[in-house]
């Protein structure tokens, strides 16, 4: 098998949930640059990202990883009770990094004023913005973003595209699963088309 310099890969990976095959012998190699995951509802995009992040047990096959992963799923994954800032500080410290970038990142994402309120009191879009600020606050090599445009307004979507473009230019591996947003195709280097558990790379 090949070696991967930076990024993540799945080899012959099969995922079974609820005794149903959700991903079928998938081979995916993600390297630096933007990889887009496309596919209709229920085709297995979320499962693929979770498999890359190691959040789902593989029934067969294996997963390789070079560098740390930042996975943001359909939900914002912030702990209720804590504020956005406290959540991001926890993540950054846990990775052994510093917390200096956090304030700036949250402010840039437009939640500067709300960053000390408990996250459950934020609107859906504000919560999404706070979780996307992690991309700047943690500066991790491999980014896995599942439908990150959901709930974002126009300004937020623009910022997210810039963020993705910048991460790509920095040589980070970015995997984005999303519907629509054809403008992302211009930034992408690779495509993974999912159909009912079968992946085709392009």
């Amino acid at each position: 098998m090949r070696t991967v310099q930076s990024g993540a890969s799945l080899h012959d990976a099969t995922v079974v949930l609820d005794d149903r095959v959700i991903l079928r012998a998938v081979n995916v190699v993600v390297g630096p640059g933007l990889t887009l995951v496309r596919g209709p509802n229920g085709s297995g995009k979320t499962t693929l990202l979770r498999a890359l992040a190691g959040l789902v047990p593989l029934a067969r096959g294996d997963r390789r990883l070079a560098g740390d992963v930042l996975y943001i799923g359909h939900r914002p994954m912030l702990l209720r009770g804590l504020s956005a800032r406290e959540n991001l500080e926890f993540f950054a410290r846990f990775r052994g990094g510093d917390t200096r970038a956090i304030d700036g990142a949250l402010r840039a994402w437009g939640v500067g004023e709300d960053m000390d309120r408990p996250v459950e009191r934020l609107s859906a879009g504000e919560r999404r913005r706070a979780s996307l600020a992690r991309v700047e606050a943690e500066r991790v090599q491999v980014l896995l973003l599942d439908e990150p445009f959901a709930d974002l307004d126009e300004a937020g979507a623009v910022r997210l595209r810039q963020t993705i473009a910048r991460a790509r230019d920095d040589g980070r591996s970015v995997v984005v699963a999303t519907h629509a947003h054809p403008e992302l195709d211009d930034l992408a280097k690779a495509w993974i088309a999912l159909d009912d558990g079968d992946a085709t790379a392009a």
């Binding site: 949930l17 609820d18 005794d19 047990p57 593989l58 067969r60 096959g61 294996d62």
Partner: protein
């Protein structure tokens, strides 16, 4: 990341020896029953009721064995991710729960004439009941989990923890105010304090129930492996 290994079916010799295992189990069960009912001497104190011993004690020990097997198979699954270990664990847990239920009932039937009650609160009995509930919980946990590897992993973790109750049940008679028989056979100091023909009958019964356990295991494990194969090939 470790792969889940699925056996390609039961080993070829399994189905071949299973009938013989069944015949041996049945035959030794008949011998043990005849010995227990007619050959072994009547107890000086208890009369004939004591003969329940030959069911009660072997079943208790085999329940212990079954739960220790669950424990070992659980370690095996976590270590190797070979699905056959999960099959062994579930088979052994089910048989263990069955045997525990049976020796509880047998003990209870024995308790009525000797102690005057069906059930009483004393350490051996309570810890046994707790062990029973624990493994019913183990089976519940399995039943509620959805997909294969999660089920196997969660069950394995619990199977490892639950085994701690086996020595506790065994040692519980040593606690103060136990009504139950103190260790007479498996005791630390000296040889068994039991009449030799009684001891022989007990050993033959133990042998018979061990074969029954082995027979059940081979049947249940094959069934489970067949299910796994069906699941993974569709």
């Amino acid at each position: 990341m470790t792969d889940t290994t699925i056996s390609r079916g039961t080993p070829y010799w399994m189905p071949r020896i299973r009938p013989w295992l069944g015949i041996a189990a049945a035959a030794s069960f008949v011998v043990a029953s005849v010995m227990a009912l007619f050959w072994a001497p009547t107890d000086a104190v208890q009369g004939n009721v004591y003969r329940i011993l030959y069911v009660h004690v072997p079943l208790a020990w085999l329940a212990y064995l079954a739960f220790v097997v669950v424990f070992l198979a659980s370690i095996g699954w976590l270590w190797t991710r070979n699905a056959v270990f999960d099959a062994i664990a579930v088979a052994s847990a089910e048989i263990g729960v069955l045997f525990t239920g049976l020796f509880l009932v047998a003990g209870s039937i024995w308790a009525k004439p000797t102690w005057g009650v069906w059930w009483t609160w004393e350490p051996r009995l309570v810890t046994t009941a707790v062990m029973f509930v624990m493994y019913v919980g183990y089976l519940l946990l399995r039943g509620l989990s959805t997909d294969f590897s999660r089920r196997a992993t969660r069950a394995a973790v619990f199977g490892i923890i639950a085994v701690i109750d086996v020595p506790i049940v065994h040692l519980s008679v040593l606690w103060a105010n136990s009504l139950h028989q103190l260790p007479t056979v498996l005791r630390a100091a000296g040889s068994p304090a039991l009449d030799s023909s009684m001891l022989l009958t007990l050993m033959v019964s133990l042998f018979a129930y061990t074969l029954i356990y082995a027979y059940f295991m081979s049947a249940r494990v094959s069934l489970e492996v067949a299910r796994q194969v069906r699941l993974w090939t569709t």
